[in-house]
């Protein structure tokens, strides 16, 4: 085992312990609000991780990823809304009632956002490079304006939830329980992504990033693989969206705005593109800095901007790459 290898494990181990101990420690220090801030951070880490699958591993730079995040959130919001007023969501061909059961809402969010990603990807993936960036952006803005004008579900005022979803055996209204749920889901998704990027499918995706023309000449129908990857990433973002709706108990079109997509992309770049833990680190650092800087300046971006430039200039694989040293951040 090389020293770099153990350094990586040490870092990840410490990070995990810190995240596990966060609620009791901050509780003891009387800084309990940090638990809800960190729930938010873990949720953004999840959406950044999903974006990294297409940007970092698949080489497809999307500026519309917040759309799937927003769709996941709206699935939770709309299902809750129908549950409150008792009006079925659909009454034909079969009757679908609203619900606040997380065992239904979370899978539904994954499914619906994945479906949207599949349809949107179907069109977007016929282009590449700059065109791909612009068309993903256009689709996301289309959805943003669609929800903005959707008066039934609050339009630009958004939808408020009366409470978080219910999960048998766990009280999600309690911030600590909710935090651990987010952490568990993030860890699960990290593990799934780890398997994914090292599988045959993962190799194909990375081959396409490196040289798509060569992959075609080898006999890979690359479009199908890219679409599958795009769909998986969209589904992941939808899961994060479902969590954010629960965390803030509020859903609005702002979740889908293209600036949000940009922010998620910045997390990926900052933390380390094409790595699994980089996006998580990026979300932690960016959101913490925003929080800290916001306490003494109205324009945190003035300081965040230069910091971002330095990291991108000096770390090929972002902060994660810098922490692990050369060649240490390969996955």
């Amino acid at each position: 085992m090389s020293p770099k290898f153990s350094r990586k494990h040490l870092l990840l181990g410490l990070g995990l312990i810190a995240l596990l101990l966060l609620p009791p420690v901050t509780g003891a220090l009387g800084e309990g609000y940090l638990v809800s801030l960190f729930s938010r951070i873990l949720i953004y880490a999840l959406v950044a991780l999903s974006l990294d699958l297409i940007v970092g591993y698949g080489g497809m730079v999307s500026l519309g990823h917040a759309a799937y995040f927003g769709i996941g959130a709206y699935v939770v919001g709309i299902l809750a809304h129908h549950s409150y007023d008792g009006v079925p969501l659909i009454s034909w061909p079969l009757e679908l009632q609203g619900t606040e059961n997380a065992l239904v809402t979370l899978p539904a969010a994954v499914l619906v956002s994945g479906l949207f990603a599949a349809v949107i990807g179907f069109f977007c993936l016929r282009t590449r490079g700059m065109h791909f960036i612009m068309i993903t952006l256009a689709f996301a803005q289309m959805l943003y304006f669609f929800y903005l004008s959707l008066e039934t579900y609050g339009g630009d005022d958004g939808l408020s939830l009366y409470s978080r979803n219910r999960l048998p055996g766990l009280d999600l209204a309690d911030d600590t329980s909710f935090y651990y749920l987010c952490l568990a889901i993030l860890l699960l998704c990290l593990y799934l992504s780890h398997r994914l990027v090292h599988s045959r499918f993962g190799r194909v995706i990375q081959g396409i990033r490196e040289n798509e023309r060569r992959m075609l000449a080898l006999g890979f129908p690359t479009y199908r693989y890219k679409l599958a990857c795009f769909t998986i990433a969209g589904a992941g973002a939808g899961l994060a969206g479902a969590l954010i709706a629960n965390q803030t108990e509020f859903v609005s079109p702002g979740l889908m705005h293209w600036t949000r997509s940009g922010e998620i992309l910045v997390m990926v770049l900052l933390g380390g593109m094409g790595t699994l833990f980089g996006p998580v680190l990026g979300a932690i650092v960016l959101l913490l800095m925003e929080e800290v800087l916001a306490s003494f300046t109205e324009y945190p971006m003035v300081l965040l901007g230069p910091f971002l430039i330095l990291v991108v200039l000096y770390g090929r694989k972002g902060i994660y790459g810098i922490l692990l040293g050369r060649g240490g951040a390969d996955d």
């Binding site: 499918f201 490196e210 060569r214 000449a217």
Partner: protein, 249 residues
């Protein structure tokens, strides 16, 4: 064995005013090494790109292995057994030699929608990868990132990747380009060894290489096949000498 393995019939391709292929016809038989030569700008690479499907011809047809493949996309032709190597070395620089080959093998092993099992511990990839490493003489470099290979070794790797799918024909686009004499010998030996196991269409600038390896040679000039025959016939063909060698007959 009446029908040739690959048949090109009346291919036309224009880029604006330039006719890169003009009524181009030739055929490659099973198991033969067929040389494709011609002066710069004669349309050799355009011909290759149409054969592998990256370019669609304006008119004409291509038959391969008993099927009309003129409208098939690149990946479908590759799956049928039509493999190519590129003029510029075209490998996955960030992957190891072994991983490059494993990816090529994966391409021909059904679909790759396998999301769970680790590719680097997959026995169905490891075995065949070893075989090809031996075949192209790169066993010692298996774990090395492909970017660390010498130019000649990269060429060997490319040929290995093309061979991974057990193709029926190999399109080699200027395999000797930019190689020192040592590399040329090594690659010529490799091509010689492959002879008989599959057909090879060899596009090459180095005439000595083509004449020493090929069973038959087709000469292109201004997008058109002006002659086909054995190396001896081509060497003594007055039309070829005039067009290609710039000699006054």
């Amino acid at each position: 064995m009446t029908e040739p393995l690959l048949q090109v019939l009346g291919l036309n391709k224009r880029f604006g005013a330039v006719a890169a292929s003009r009524d181009l016809s030739f055929s490659v038989n099973h198991g033969e090494i067929h040389g494709l030569i011609g002066p710069n700008g004669a349309g050799k690479t355009t011909a290759i790109n149409q054969l592998c499907g990256e370019l669609k011809p304006d008119s004409g047809s291509i038959r391969f292995d008993g099927r009309d493949i003129t409208r098939l996309p690149v990946h479908a032709r590759a799956r049928m057994g039509l493999a190519r190597s590129f003029q510029i070395t075209f490998i996955f620089e960030h992957l190891s030699t072994e991983q490059n080959l494993a990816l090529a093998i994966q391409a021909h092993e059904g679909h790759s929608f396998r999301f769970w099992g680790r590719a680097d511990r997959d026995r169905r990839l490891i075995g065949p990868t070893r075989q090809i490493l031996e075949r192209v003489g790169l066993e010692a470099r298996a774990g090395e990132p492909a970017s660390h290979l010498s130019h000649g070794e990269k060429r060997q790797l490319e040929v290995g990747m093309a061979l991974a799918g057990q193709p029926k024909i190999l399109l080699l686009d200027e395999p000797m380009a930019g190689m020192g004499p040592g590399g040329t010998v090594e690659l010529s030996r490799l091509i010689q060894e492959l002879k008989g196991t599959l057909a090879i269409l060899l596009v090459e600038h180095d005439m000595d290489v083509v004449f020493s390896l090929a069973d038959r040679v087709t000469v292109l000039d201004y997008g058109q096949a002006i002659a086909t025959g054995s190396p001896q016939e081509i060497r003594s063909n007055p039309v070829v000498r005039r067009a290609y060698l710039g000699e006054e007959a």
